[in-house]
């Protein structure tokens, strides 16, 4: 190939960008995984959730979540006819050991599992002063715990209350969408252990993922859509009273 200096110089920046994408291909631990091929999200089917707390326990076991802190938790809503705007919400120990029995009562009950929404325009990553939290190229909001100062700006910024300061490490901690699992072709610990299939990991970049059909045929909402966070945890048949 004849390449004069002028053309070589023109192609140099393009080659540099291309090489960056080659390097972007694989997180070290997962050889067959290309980050740019995925855009992770989760689907939560409210009518299927029985409030067993399996997801909360599984998350704690998989990720060594300290007691009293939660990367995922389950809330039980009780909406009465006379107080539709302010439902009674309980989440004893995050729903880890289930919920107290609800005797037959007026109004409606339902469970809302919550976790990091892995927002596409996340407020938490925008406020980090040092670049310790970020959205990975495959759409997962992660924390670089060796870089985090523990200033807790992100904890305040998250409108969903999904972050906490790890009491031992004194740095921000949150749901990683089990990044160490999904990059190996497994599902998250919470989805793996949900007995009714109420939680489903979904890849929005995979055209064969059943989430596309589901989003078209069901009434699906995200939490706090008015905040324009680009939340990627989709709730099927979410009640209007859920905040």
């Amino acid at each position: 190939m004849n390449l004069d200096r002028r053309h070589f110089l023109i192609m140099l920046p393009a080659a540099a960008i291309a090489w960056k994408y080659v390097l972007a291909g694989t997180p070290e631990a997962s050889p067959n995984y290309t980050m740019t091929d995925h855009w992770w999200s989760m689907l939560i089917d409210i009518p299927k959730c029985i409030g067993c707390g399996n997801c909360v326990r599984a998350c704690a076991a998989e990720n060594d979540v300290p007691d009293g802190h939660f990367r995922t938790w389950v809330e039980r809503y009780h909406v009465t006819d006379w107080h539709m705007e302010s439902p009674e919400v309980i989440s004893p120990d995050g729903g880890k050991e289930g919920f107290p029995a609800a005797s037959e009562d007026s109004g409606k009950y339902f469970f809302v599992p919550k976790l990091c929404n892995h927002c596409a325009d996340s407020p938490c990553t925008q406020v980090c002063p040092v670049g310790a939290t970020f959205i990975s190229p495959d759409g997962v909001v992660l924390v670089d715990q060796t870089y985090c100062l523990g200033c807790a700006y992100c904890v305040q910024a998250c409108p969903y209350g999904c972050r906490y300061i790890h009491p031992g490490k004194r740095v921000a901690d949150k749901c990683t969408l089990c990044y160490h699992r999904i990059t190996k072709g497994l599902t998250t610990a919470c989805c793996e252990n949900c007995p009714t299939g109420a939680r489903q990991l979904a890849d929005l970049k995979d055209p064969n993922d059943p989430i596309h059909a589901f989003l078209k045929t069901h009434h699906v909402q995200v939490l706090k859509p008015q905040m324009a966070t680009g939340a990627k945890v989709f709730y099927n048949e979410l009640d209007g009273s859920v905040r």
């Binding site: 998989e62 009562d105 959205i135 670089d144 610990a189």
Partner: protein
């Protein structure tokens, strides 16, 4: 008169500026992590480090490579959607080394976690009041956990 006659102080200042900038570049080279800015305003190597964290739950596909018989029995029954470790607990250590035996399970605790009666649960989900339903008998007397419908006669 030369235009640079009184410009000595400007050159000295420029020299200081160049030295300070060089010091800045050297310090920056050693202080900023190598992979910072690889994908964005963060340390790119952090992604690999997070992906390398250890597994605790092996995943049902791993279980099924050895326990195909159980997977088959489960597939036909009502517990088809319940993955192995949802009841058996995290068993990545057992999957890596089968000589490590998983702990025995207590159905009195496990079954009731999901099936205790509560008005808050979806109406179509099977729920029982354990005291009135079994009179203290263990669940597996009638219901086999991997395929819980009662096999001989009675309600399925």
């Amino acid at each position: 008169m030369s235009p640079t006659k009184d410009a000595g102080h400007l050159f000295r200042f420029a020299f200081l500026f160049v030295v300070a900038f060089a010091v800045f570049l050297v310090v920056r080279h050693f202080v900023v992590p190598r992979s910072f800015g690889e994908y964005g305003h963060y340390r790119g190597a952090a992604i690999g480090e997070i992906a390398a964290r250890p597994l605790h739950y092996a995943g049902h596909e791993t279980c099924e490579t050895c326990h195909a018989d159980v997977a088959e029995a489960k597939k036909a029954g009502k517990h088809a959607t319940v993955n192995c470790e949802a009841c058996h607990g995290p068993l990545a250590t057992h999957a890596a080394d089968p000589s490590i035996q998983p702990a025995k399970l207590d159905t009195a605790v496990l079954c009731i976690r999901c099936h205790a009666i509560s008005a808050a649960k979806p109406k179509n989900f099977p729920q029982v009041d354990a005291d009135q339903h079994a009179y203290g008998l263990p669940c597996e007397t009638c219901h086999k956990p991997h395929s819980p419908a009662i096999q001989t006669g009675g309600a399925k």
